[in-house]
Assembly symmetry: C2
Homo-oligomer: 277 residues x 2
Amino acid sequence: MSDDATAFVPGHITGFFSAHPDDDPAVAGSRGAGVTLSHGVTVTVEPASESTVTLDGEAVEMEPVASVLQSLGVTAAVEAESELPLGAGFGVSGAMALGTALASNAVFSCGRSENELVTVAHEAEVRAGTGLGDVVAQARGGMPIRIDPGAPRHGYIDGIPARPRIEYVTFGGLSTADIIGGDTSTLTTAGEAALDALAEEPTVDRFLAESRQFARDADLLTDRVETAIADVRDAGGDAAMAMLGETVFAVGTGLSDAGYDPERCFVHPAGSTLDTA
Amino acid sequence: MSDDATAFVPGHITGFFSAHPDDDPAVAGSRGAGVTLSHGVTVTVEPASESTVTLDGEAVEMEPVASVLQSLGVTAAVEAESELPLGAGFGVSGAMALGTALASNAVFSCGRSENELVTVAHEAEVRAGTGLGDVVAQARGGMPIRIDPGAPRHGYIDGIPARPRIEYVTFGGLSTADIIGGDTSTLTTAGEAALDALAEEPTVDRFLAESRQFARDADLLTDRVETAIADVRDAGGDAAMAMLGETVFAVGTGLSDAGYDPERCFVHPAGSTLDTA
């Protein structure tokens, strides 16, 4: 048993998705496509007599993290530092769950494989209603295309072979639990159409075009998001909305060129990683 | 169409494996486990009127690379720079095939997905007889456990959740084609036993122990390799043999501590990556 261990988990923006609930949380998930970010969440775990979770130094209630600790049968102090805002479509809760699973396995010598740890974190997110596809995407890195939903052994993931620069701005949050807990039939129809189109041509341009169309068809655009996307396109770039948050992301210098002051990062190549021992 | 594109592919050392031939090269492959390295091969592709391949500045015949270019229907100048020796168990041919696939797709806008490109490179390696499992491991990164053989959609890969330092020394090469083209029944029995044991306990220690046992059971140890492994163990470390080369790898400072002058690197977290656009 080590004293502590640290894992980094990239942020993940979903561009479009369809929801696929199931009684088995390892089978439940989403199909869709997104982009993992070099900005993410660093999670440090150390043994403690009582489990606690902090995010950027503040104590937080984080059901997926508590659920991961319970699944692994450990009590620990979990400290997360995030470069990304919570609740704005960056997969921060998924990152915290997955980082907790990876770092806890190292600290407590749980003896789980990588796919088992991804499954534990995915199930925790699904049960909490905080996400359906972030964890498996964050474990993989790159620009994941979630072809079949669910945890490893159920899901199947491909990717867009590209690593563009990414810019993003956030105007506020949207509740993932409210949207994926409600009627998802309209968004699922739109998401499956987008996925079929992307499979025909797995490129960055097509991903952005299908993501824009999805936000419109699924009726999820807000006024501020719609305006920012239009501004980027007027300036000759391309952008789309993060699912689910009032967040706009663009490739290259799309938002800067349109006069915004965005955060800047890259597509993350690796997916979640433990720090080198 | 870009002027050129560059991809990095990590080296991959297999610790143990079983061979699973099939008439369909996407189905054929190996089961087993290994470690991807921060040392690897950088492949640059640019359009050319005739296809050529260089490795560290020298023209080479490299059947898997030629086969990848043919599968993608392109003619290109492929320049590879390798930190690792060819033919000594580091997956250099697989790295060149996969790097060529990724970079060619970017240069020629082939519109293939990541899994399609991995499949093209895997098929090329299998057809050439130069490897069975390196390409899928190199696409993934980390410490891959190849549970089901074959290209994506056929194969299934898990991983050991750890990122130790790695040291290695090479005494010479072994012919992959000779060994995997011969009678593989003994090594396959030994490889499957090792995989079952690792699945019980997917840790670095168990991986090294099973790899050592495999080299002995499959009768692949050479005198120099056996001596070096014994030296590392006498010095309190652990080491095993790379399949297939006269190469010994150790975790941490195992070889240095035993008085060798090894190359030093890390477990590669990402798998193959295109350079940022």
